[in-house]
Symmetry: C2
Subunit: 430 residues, 2 copies
């Protein structure tokens, strides 16, 4: 059973602050192991990749079978349930349409002095997309990472996905095919990240690596950061649902459990102004739990990290939401739109009683890769902006240089950089 | 003397590839020291901050004197050379005007199904700006970091700057005042980063930390990343100048040295199609070096990391520029504009013979915090986007939910997440 916090009790602030500090993840210290694996892949290339894959994935590969061939894609597509393929196509098209709107515009202008300034956006040349193996090998995540890269104009999108015991989720290959990704390697873990960052005989190095992974993958991404770009390090998923008593408790319970079933470290929080409704939701959670395939996972998540927060009025809950800075914020009450406008820290907001967060996981069109663990205070979900970069442009003629020179020289001299001052002054015979 | 590479020799590709891999920084392993300092500041707060400041900066502070008072700002401003203050004001205004154009627009629309989607940008609530002490304590960097934060709408911008032996560059305080930053603490190193990330009795925690620093500061930023956001980890500065033989060799030599005087690990590269011009530039560098205050630093940089690359035609140098992915790219030849349009990887491009890179350091208006060490392949210079974050919005009515439900349910079931499927299905009595 989740904890209950009542905003009208005297110790609420203390308990809420402690709740915010709750660590949901024990990150194993795998840094040294990962460092060794990366060094080995850098030295031995394919050979190291093959060795680790045999050891960790119990899968025997050769340089020839590291990369997945066209025939395997064809077979995966042929074997897939047509309805699932159609759903993936719909998801791809909706993600693509929404992300097209995120393409940033170049800017170029001359200011009053005639100085030309500009910002120009270009796609990252090549991107590696990591996809976990096993039960967390989600085709929807392939789309959420690959489609924005394609929309951005990245020429080479490479995928790495481990095949533990030789088993690969064929829908991951279908999603890759639908997203236009054809260069896929069946490797995982820190060794895959090392291969993507530094390249091997078979795997060409990329400029940026994105996608979720386990502790080894996360540590490897941190270590190769700088050599290549990386996206965020994602933590366990979370939802904050703000709901009034006019909701069907079964609906809200289902939403809380959709989050909880991801992971025992996932977190579902309900904020409501109606204690009786809260009790009804808790009862519905208990009852639905018994009927979920992943009930054990969801039960552990709800027991250890779930929370019900009672507030005197939903309106006052904006401040709580901002402090929680949830990955997903679901607003199930009539005044949701006004509430949403006042929220500052949230990865994504789902407005109204007919927008369960799950729609955003698959077919809403927005991205499901979102900031977790309160990082919505300072970061954003995955977007086209993660696959482009900006070059700034400056262009002066001699007149403009003459106008700006005195200030530039004064500042260079104030900073003790007379070589800087000279680089300007020498052009003016000063 | 810098190395010379000739693109028309047989071993050029080998030598150029090796040149690209040159490490210019030896990063000391200070991780454990930094870990201990952060843990101590988290535990003991102000007391630890005061202890480390006494030990590392030889500066005795109390909780009352950690923060710089209004009188000190006033004194710094009163003592400053009026011409320098005017130059800082011009720089601030130009940076502000340019960065205002970077404010991203919100988006909200309904698609053909009536599904409402949106992206909403909000400023990060609070930002900590680290400013190094000693000779690298640059007022221009204060403006380059603080002004974009102010333009973004960050309510609380905090600065930390060490005062070794009690000495502080008063122009740093002037720049802070001009940029509207009034909360400044005289602390530095890993202890300052820890205080900004976790807070102490006196220093309130921030959501994001930006700004350059030494190895301890860089390591601390990496370690607190996740608890707070951070900007890039900047390496030593670099310039690539592409110039034809029609330039005054003295001008180009001055530009190469403006970069080299920053740091012995800085890098200046000249690409030209004119061997005689290259020789003239090298001679001018040698002669100007003797007249630079920071001549020793510049000489070491030019000797150890400087390079002259001879190419058969400037036009073919775009590919080289993209592989170098320079922080600064200066194009001093008539066809610079067309060349710039074809370059993909560069932090900033300076177009034409009258745009020395130094203008961009101070008063051009664009930001001088730019990606180094080839990271322009995957990242951008500092901008307003570093101080805002995006929340995505999704809103469905019952009709839209009904339209998207089958695909969402199909994908949830394909991924084995029946709790996800139920969260949608339950709303349709399916």
């Amino acid at each position: 059973m989740a904890i209950t916090l009542d905003a009208q009790t005297a110790d609420f602030e203390t308990r809420f602050a402690a709740f915010l500090e709750t660590k949901r993840e024990v990150s194993d210290d795998v840094d040294q192991t990962v460092r060794d694996i990366i060094a080995d892949v850098r030295t031995r290339g394919d050979e190291a990749l093959i060795d680790y894959t045999k050891r960790f994935d119990r899968n025997s590969l050769s340089a020839e079978t590291l990369r997945i061939g066209e025939a395997e894609f064809d077979a995966a597509l042929a074997a897939a349930d047509p309805e699932t393929v159609k759903a993936l196509e719909l998801a791809r098209d909706r993600i693509s349409a929404h992300h097209l709107r995120q393409l940033p515009a170049d800017d170029r202008y001359a200011d009053a002095l005639g100085v030309e300034l500009g910002s120009r956006w270009t796609p990252v040349e090549s991107v590696g997309l990591y996809v976990p193996g096993g039960t967390a090998s989600y085709p929807s995540s392939v789309l959420m990472n690959a489609v924005p890269a394609q929309v951005a104009g990245v020429e080479r999108v490479v995928m790495a996905v481990p095949a533990p015991d030789g088993v690969l989720n064929p829908l991951v290959l279908v999603a890759a095919r639908l997203a236009g990704v054809s260069e896929v390697y069946r490797v995982g873990g820190a060794q895959a990240i090392a291969a993507l960052a530094y390249g091997t005989q078979t795997v060409g190095a990329v400029a940026k690596i994105v996608g979720p992974g386990n502790a080894y993958v996360a540590a490897a991404k941190r270590q190769v950061f700088g050599k290549v770009g990386i996206d965020m390090i994602a933590g366990p998923s979370e939802v904050l649902i703000v709901a009034d008593g006019d909701n069907d408790p079964e609906w809200i319970a289902a939403d809380l459990l959709a989050q909880a079933e991801h992971d025992t470290a996932a977190q579902s929080i309900l904020v409501t102004d109606d204690a009786a409704f809260a009790a009804a939701v808790e009862a519905a959670v208990a009852s639905q739990l018994t009927r979920l395939k992943r009930g054990e996972t969801a039960a552990a998540s709800w027991r250890d990290f779930g929370a019900v927060i009672l507030v005197p009025s939903l309106d006052g809950a904006v401040a709580l939401a901002d402090r929680i800075a949830p990955e997903h914020l679901e607003l199930a009450f009539d005044a949701a739109e006004a509430f949403a406008a006042r929220v500052r820290n949230a990865g994504a907001i789902f407005i109204g009683r007919h927008t369960p967060e799950v729609i955003g996981d698959y077919v809403g069109g927005s991205n499901h890769v979102l900031p977790t663990a309160r990082s919505a205070r300072f970061s954003s979900g995955l977007s086209v902006l993660d696959f482009v970069k900006r070059t700034s442009i400056l262009k002066l003629g001699s007149e403009q240089l003459r106008a700006l020179a005195p200030a530039a020289i004064a500042l260079a001299e104030a900073e003790g950089l007379d070589g800087h001052a000279r680089s300007v002054a020498i052009r003016l015979n000063m």
